[in-house]
Symmetry: C2
């Protein structure tokens, strides 16, 4: 009987989608709501989101941003004010048409994103350059009516944050756009242990109404990419459409420059699909709802349970810790907590107590070590740091193994088939080439990396049309 | 020119509703959204909510509760499963009838509260008594289509938390109901410095579908009451309607006992209307977004600004502190920060620097004291504690002054007119008497206090019908 069988998980190598579905259900992270495409985030999933939120919000505040709350419902006429925006979002809007017993005069959209309603308020609030920049964010849920859904990855409602800022100059807006992208990179890499490729989206993949969209892209275990956070330089499109004007330093009426940026519960999906293994979840210590689980061994022997509780209470001061003193067998418990991805399992039995030590088992490597009672906190601190780093290193190595480059379409197809993952290839900038690559390979252009990460593949010719190309782009099949 | 004129605030004694509207707009706590009845919570208001949230959430977690997230949209058929519940909420539901381009087969309610959808999930999750109790909460927004609205007090969308728990026995459910009511009392009294009357609602005022509703009631400056948090013992009404069953300790199928409890952004309205004065907001230190504002005096004199920044940076380690180094006049600044209700104003000018001291001015009393640089942190800590306590004491004294008792309807009317506030009066328990009192006085029955706070008014006869009455109740006009 294989390990998976015990946990009733599909094998991730044989059937990755089923493995994903099994893991998220059996670890009780999420469940399916009565309305198709909607999810219930259960305590184990939500606690991870709370940790991600707190790490992210801290960084927003440290860079001078404040939180607000804008209403859930947006009048249809507002959505229509920015032409590209409404075209992009209208097909997936949920519409409120009745309030109480009455038919409404105008349909109200449940926010799919809040640029329009926020722009309308900014236009009311902004008078003088002295008030700029506006640096605001909100944490909320949004609704986008999706046809095909999967919990965390694509759902008709999801939780996210959306930042919306105004600036005096285009340079400041660009700087903000990149600063926030960098915060997403930090949260993904330093907090979630997920290495990312940062860069700009092609015009085709740019946010509806934006001048430029920047993205951080991560690579899942199955070689598919996941857009993990985006930051938009909105230029003056919305500020003009919503007539946001102010008196500038020269006492002239001017339009400010605008950015928006968002990261959602999707990143929980990324965390699962980057770090998970055949035994289930592997949760990075910095976001783990439980960092250490204490398992009393032979708990009925005198003194064991007391000592286990004593240690749990001691560790609670510094770590997120739980004890499992249920009647289940040790083997069952090992499997359960392994599946839940708890970074460290702490075992304590009569023999350990005699020796004044415990056994610590790492979720990421399976390695076990004995640690004296007296060294416990320091050793756990060290181990958690090591696990966090190891998860990042492993994910980076895997991404590098799954990244190829291609000089022509045949090579592109072959490599994508033989080693699914990122394909680095030159692109001439023509949308037709982008479309054709997608049609023939199923891969989309994920991003064009920044200059510092640019390189020339082969002789610098577009992988599709063979014309000279100045930029290398990352392509992949994507969620 | 009176103080109010300078700040363009209406006088709270002359026109309380206008004072409220002025204060919330001019301090930039909140603004009106494009859709009537909806509000935008601006950074100064939202930061207060974040502080309330964090104080409340901490207490939920300390009592073993975990957070989750349930979907925004609820199928109409779910709302209808509990007969009283749908009757209570249907008239104020916002309905989604279109998703993307399609008409939906079934209308979806934007949650007005989540008992029904949560009960449906609980019915899926609960199998055995070993899983009980279920102790879950969610922070979210809800929509109730209201006719007459006022920011924070009554809006068509508001932010809140809703806890939903399941228990093995009716005793445990009752204990939970009262425990959570007590947490609301703590948050209101210890954090928001608002004294409350706790008790049970009359059947007429009980939550739609509940067995019993408990409430904490606070009294505003104008003598009107505000329901500030409610905790419901739901009995088995929803667990039966949604067929939530489990195998109990005797291996029998059983229905669990159910509670729910909520507190919302309304309490920000209470905070404003309990502590505010003719000069604007007075924010209790524990929730103040800014606890100390540093004002450099004669800031252009050499060294003043540097010293002011040095002090701000020093204080930042322990307090929420801001500096105002704008070009506005000191008088203008004093008024602004006073209006915003910042608990302590710290002034520092050339003479202070010479003497190595600052001046601290209290928002609640106006009192000013000089404090040496070396004692700053300790003195501020002490002052903030004193302000917090003083706000509570003042509010309690005011509530006591505004609480009368009445033995018959004439006395009830006279006292309510002469001294608007709480009227303590005996009530026989008959809904007809409750209705008549309301019709003739405009007051509603706010709550029947717990036995420990019960007293007999006059000869113990019902204030309306004169029949023997076993309980004293609090009545008031209410928001």
């Amino acid at each position: 009987m294989g390990k998976n069988k015990k946990k009733e998980l599909a094998s991730m190598e044989e059937n990755f989608p089923q493995w994903y579905t099994d893991v998220i259900s059996k670890t009780e992270m999420v469940d399916y709501a009565p309305v198709k495409g909607f999810m219930v985030i259960r305590p184990y999933g939500y606690a991870i989101w709370e940790n991600i939120q707190s790490e992210t919000d801290k960084r927003f505040k440290a860079t001078g941003h404040q939180n607000m709350y804008f209403p859930l419902l947006i009048p249809e006429s507002y959505l229509k004010k920015e032409a590209e925006h409404v075209e992009g979002f209208a097909p997936e809007v949920a519409w409120v048409t009745q309030g109480g017993d009455k038919e409404l005069n105008e349909r109200l959209a449940i926010r799919p994103t809040s640029e329009t309603i926020i722009a309308s308020m900014y236009s009311k609030w902004l008078n003088s350059y002295r008030q700029l920049p506006f640096l605001y964010n909100q944490w909320c849920s949004v609704v986008r009516w999706e046809k095909t859904t999967r919990p965390f990855l694509r759902t008709s409602e999801f939780l996210w944050q959306e930042g919306h800022t105004l600036h005096e100059t285009p340079e400041e807006a660009q700087e903000e756009t990149l600063q926030m992208l960098n915060i997403y990179r930090e949260v993904l890499e330093d907090v979630l242990a997920i290495p990312v490729i940062a860069g700009i989206k092609s015009p085709k993949e740019t946010f509806a109404g934006a001048k430029a969209t920047y993205t951080v892209e991560s690579l899942m275990h199955d070689g598919q990419a996941l857009q993990s956070g985006t930051s938009h330089n909105l230029g003056q499109g919305f500020t003009k459409a919503f007539d946001i004007t102010y008196l500038d330093r020269n006492n002239q009426q001017a339009y400010p420059y605008h950015t928006s940026w968002g990261m959602s519960t999707r990143v929980i999906g990324a965390m699962i699909m980057v770090h998970g293994d055949e035994n289930g979840l592997v949760v990075p210590p910095k976001v783990a709802p439980i960092q250490v689980v204490v398992l009393p061994i032979a708990a009925k022997k005198e003194g064991v349970l007391d000592k286990a509780y004593e240690i749990k209470d001691r560790l609670k001061e510094r770590f997120r810790v739980e004890i499992d003193d249920s009647d289940n067998s040790p083997g069952w418990k090992f499997n359960q907590w392994e599946m839940k991805g708890v970074p460290i399992r702490l075992e304590i039995g009569p023999k350990d107590i005699e020796k004044e030590q415990v056994v610590l088992a790492r979720r990421d490597t399976g390695e076990k070590i004995s640690v004296a009672f007296s060294d416990l906190e320091d050793e756990i601190e060290r181990l958690l740091g090591e696990i966090q780093q190891n998860l990042y290193d492993k994910a980076l190595k895997r991404r590098e193994e799954k990244t190829s480059s291609a000089e022509n379409l045949e090579e592109f197809k072959t490599k994508l088939k033989e080693n699914p993952g990122f394909i680095k290839a030159m692109w001439c900038g023509d949308e037709e080439c982008e479309d054709k690559i997608n049609e023939e390979t199923g891969a989309t252009l994920r991003c064009i990396p920044f200059d510092a990460e640019q390189e020339t593949i082969g002789d610098g010719k577009c992988v599709y049309c063979g014309k000279p190309a100045s930029k290398m782009a990352y392509f992949a099949r994507a969620y």
